[in-house]
């Protein structure tokens, strides 16, 4: 019989499940849907533009594509270490915190040129790490408050500087607001060169220090106990994070830059377990989202690139969350449904067999449906549904007389096996645990469907010599 949850609990669970489902679907579908809507407003069709983009005829498009892909790859590789160490939000904080550096260096230089702005951003990033370190060391300030407080303070200062520059007579043309949400078209050759150099350094560091980084990311305490200098690796990683964030800011903006570092690795982690494959997959997902984002930014130049890249990788993440073979929500749901159906079917066959034994006739005697329904305590609708499924599965055959059923050999075997499992388990609970005799039945009802052959053979050897058969503790006739 199907196990019944209390009604309210059931409703609550299903609401929760559907809320989650719809939210994820909304997240996945919204991006393309809105994008389509926007394209209606444009003159040339999207496909022509896409074809144009991939003909690599426009040097700006090529530059954007290479830049965004390189940054995506970089973020995907490095982000693995951020995600595995569960400090994703430190990346977010670092992203926001470099804004005042950009503002200050603009105020000093008075123009927007890549290298000075990057230098300013790096100084701000380092300064931020120091401030965060100082504030986090105070025991009275909780870690989450410390993080939230410091990065918003830096960001606030950055906003003050930016708004001050923008409101001043010389600064209105600076285009510094591009740093907030990014504009991939603004990627220069210098940016690309820097990011490729950084990519090479990162790749070399990962290859050369793979063992150490692996141990360090999964278990820092263990790493330091076997003599790995964890502080060194921490700072090495922090420097690489800062550089990556700083170089990516141009393309995706300070507000959303962290998504570049956490979404691809988290997605990869859903799909694979080993660090090596996670790195490769995450790098690939990063590259893909970067490329998609740059394409969108080429198609809709009015919309900042950062959010586009984020939505591209979020869609991949949502897809993985739903359809990852082992941990995905949909495969999980399907597996659960399959299990439930098998259990229901097995329960029906068992009940039919019990009916025949109850009447003291041969196991394979045809069963009149009406008689059985009178005997069975379960809901008639449910029973007839199960019978139809069993007939489709060729487990039940119609008898000679009208409205009778015959259990096939396969069905008999399955029912006998379940019945035997049930009794074995009840016997085991009765003999080896302190569970009251009237409690063993309910537990056995569930376990009978999941006992594996090797557990059964172990149970048999434990219980060898005990009476097994029609005696069964819960019926009180042992």
């Amino acid at each position: 019989m199907p196990r019944k949850l209390p009604g309210s609990m059931k409703v609550y669970r299903s609401i929760k499940r559907y809320l989650l489902f719809t939210a994820v679907v909304a997240l996945t579908t919204a991006a393309p849907a809105w994008a389509a809507r926007i394209s209606d407003l444009q003159e040339t069709s999207v496909w022509t533009q896409i074809a144009e983009y991939f003909s690599f005829s426009s040097p700006i498009a090529v530059q954007t594509l290479i830049g965004c892909s390189a940054l995506g790859l970089l973020g995907g590789l490095l982000g693995c270490f951020l995600v595995l160490r569960r400090i994703s939000l430190v990346g977010d904080a670092l992203g926001h915190a470099i804004l005042p550096g950009i503002g200050f260096s603009f105020m000093i230089i008075g123009a927007k040129s890549t290298l000075p702005l990057l230098a300013g951003a790096i100084v701000a990033g380092v300064l931020y790490s120091l401030v965060l370190g100082f504030v986090s060391r105070q025991r009275r300030v909780r870690p989450d408050s410390a993080l939230g407080l410091t990065f918003t303070a830096f960001f606030g200062l950055g906003i003050v500087l930016l708004s001050y520059i923008q409101n001043s007579p010389t600064g209105s043309q600076a285009g510094l607001d591009k740093f907030l949400f990014g504009q991939a078209a603004a990627i220069s050759m210098v940016d690309i060169k820097v990011s490729i150099i950084l990519l090479v350094i990162t790749a070399l560091a990962i290859v050369a220090l793979f063992k150490q980084l692996q141990v360090f990311s999964f278990d820092a305490t263990f790493a330091s106990s076997i003599g790995i200098n964890t502080a060194l690796y921490h700072y090495l990683m922090m420097v690489l994070f800062t550089l990556t964030i700083v170089i990516s800011v141009q393309a995706v903006g300070v507000v959303l830059v962290v998504a570049l570092l956490i979404i691809p690795p988290t997605t990869a982690h859903l799909l694979v377990d080993r660090l090596r494959s996670m790195l490769i997959l995450s790098g690939f997902i990063g590259l893909l989202s970067g490329a998609i984002g740059s394409l969108f930014s080429y198609l809709y130049s009015g919309i900042p690139t950062g959010p586009m890249v984020v939505l591209a990788s979020a869609s991949i993440f949502a897809f993985a969350l739903l359809f990852a073979p082992t941990s995905g929500a949909v495969p999980k749901l399907l597996r659960k449904r399959q299990r439930r159906r098998r259990t229901e079917l097995e329960n029906l066959l068992k009940s039919l067999l019990e009916f025949n034994r109850h009447r003291n006739v041969e196991d394979s005697t045809p069963i009149a449906l009406d008689d059985y329904l009178r005997f069975s305590e379960s809901d008639p609708d449910w029973t007839s549904r199960q019978i139809k499924r069993a007939q489709r599965a060729k487990l039940l055959l119609p008898g000679d007389k009208g409205d009778t059923l015959v259990l096939t050999d396969a069905a008999l075997n399955s029912a006998r096996r379940i019945l035997r499992n049930h009794i074995l388990w009840e016997l085991y609970l009765d003999q080896y645990t302190d569970i009251a005799a009237d409690h063993v039945h309910f537990d056995a009802e569930r376990i009978e469907h999941v006992l594996t052959p090797d557990i059964i053979s172990r149970l048999e050897s434990i219980l060898a010599g005990r009476t097994i058969g029609k005696t069964d503790p819960s019926r009180g006739n042992a």
Binding site: K16, S145, L157, I263, K332
Partner: protein, 426 residues
């Protein structure tokens, strides 16, 4: 620039008065709600929700096509709720950890909001830059009334449900134990948070608002251990930051929200350094005092061991025994002389006064009593006793001494066989 020019002159403008009202209302309600966020260690949840309500706000704007607050409120509050559900759902149903789940959900929602906003910028009366830092001085006067009502409601709600909020903020399990549902309190609290974040959005945007939530609470927490003064303090700190930030933004012609956050953080840093109980300076001062006391007590103990009541002990001998740097030793001896615990019969040697001997005996007694305790009760080997006792001798109190003496039935020898001096109170 006189005081009048700086502070009074701007008040003649109606927008400035309105701005002040908004700054005060907003910061009071944000500060109070934020205190609970700080105590519940949910500061980053506040960050996530404030980012994530953006698409809700934009869609509500698109549908109602007005700045009227009700549809906005409902739309965005719904999205805020969905975000907490979504983060929780991802965390529970997959192996994604909470920080990554939070990071992914709020960046994605925020990105969605920005894209929506930019694609429909021409249809909505909403400036994309507003998302980042709001427009406090451009808020219509109807919103001021909404803010006033919400602020009053927050204050009234906190007073009415004070017990529930207090208990759940500090110990959710205990709250459940005494029959206050921490789950319900949590969801109602998240609802109120979402409403306030939406209302604050127009004025200060959705990123900087986090600082206004957390900073006053975290700052007040540095000054007090009790909830009522923390709430009041955080409201007052919020008002100071709001008003001062508003003035600064008017003087410099820069973002109001940004200026408020800077002032807020400055107040936090000042408190972190100067708070009498938990401040860096106060803690440093306490550590210094402890260090000095330990030095003095160690010197006295050493002098008692050397029987310096009768024989003067030379500096050289003390340096050799204690291995202290000369300067520290000199300073320690100078302070002991000032307290009249030792005197100096010759320039380079010291002798204990009667008071000094009593004090030194006390330390020696504590040291040996503790060694006896470790040896007989904890059964530590003999060569492990000394180091531990070296620290505990400075920390024992007369009550603990009495208890130890009673527990060990007033021993007269320590485990190494040296005599334990009698208690000074006898």
């Amino acid at each position: 620039m006189s005081f009048h020019d700086l502070f009074i002159a701007p008040l003649q403008f109606e927008w400035m008065l309105r701005g002040l009202l908004i700054a005060i209302f907003l910061n009071v309600s944000l500060g109070i709600i934020g205190s609970f966020l700080v105590l519940r260690r949910m500061a980053l949840m506040g960050d996530a929700v404030s980012h994530a309500v953006l698409p809700g706000i934009v869609v509500a704007f698109l549908i109602s096509n007005s700045r009227a607050s009700l549809p906005l409120l409902i739309g965005a509050t719904g999205v805020g709720f969905a975000t907490t559900f979504l983060i929780n759902g991802i965390k529970l149903s997959s192996k994604v950890k909470e920080d990554a789940a939070m990071g992914i959900v709020f960046t994605s929602m925020f990105a969605l909001g920005v894209v929506l906003l930019n694609s429909f910028a021409s249809h909505v009366d909403l400036d994309p830059d507003c998302v980042l830092y709001g427009d406090l001085l451009g808020v219509p006067s109807t919103t001021v009334w909404v803010m006033a009502v919400v602020t009053l409601a927050v204050v009234a709600g906190v007073i009415l449900f004070y017990r529930q909020l207090q208990v759940t903020a500090f110990d959710g399990l205990f709250a459940d134990g005494v029959g206050i549902s921490s789950n319900w309190t949590h969801y109602i609290f998240m609802g109120v948070l979402a409403v306030i974040l939406v209302i604050a959005f127009e004025a200060v945007g959705s990123i900087l608002v986090v600082a206004m939530l957390i900073a006053p609470g975290a700052t007040a927490y540095l000054w007090t251990d009790r909830l009522p003064p923390m709430l009041t303090g955080s409201a007052i700190l919020g008002i100071i930051a709001g008003v001062l930030g508003l003035y600064i933004s008017v003087w410099l012609n820069c973002s109001t929200a940004g200026a408020m956050v800077c002032v807020s953080f400055l107040l936090f840093l000042i408190s972190l350094i100067a708070s009498p109980k938990h401040g860096v300076v106060a803690r440093w001062w306490r550590r210094r005092k402890l260090r000095r006391r330990i030095l003095a007590e160690n010197l006295l103990k050493e002098l008692v061991r050397l029987n310096a009541r009768e024989v003067a002990v030379s500096f050289e001998r003390l340096i050799e025994l204690t291995r202290l740097p000369v300067r520290r030793l000199q300073k320690g001896i100078m302070r002991l002389r000032q307290r009249g615990l030792i005197d100096r019969p010759e320039p380079e040697s010291v002798r204990l006064t009667p008071d000094g001997e009593v004090e030194g005996m006390r330390i020696l007694r504590y040291h040996r009593l503790w060694e006896a305790f470790l040896s007989s009760e904890i059964e530590l080997p003999e060569d492990h006793l000394h180091r531990d006792a070296e620290e505990m001798e400075h920390l024992l109190t007369p009550e603990m001494e009495a208890q130890l003496a009673e527990l060990l039935s007033d021993p007269d020898k320590d485990p190494h066989g040296s005599p334990i001096p009698p208690s000074s109170s006898n």
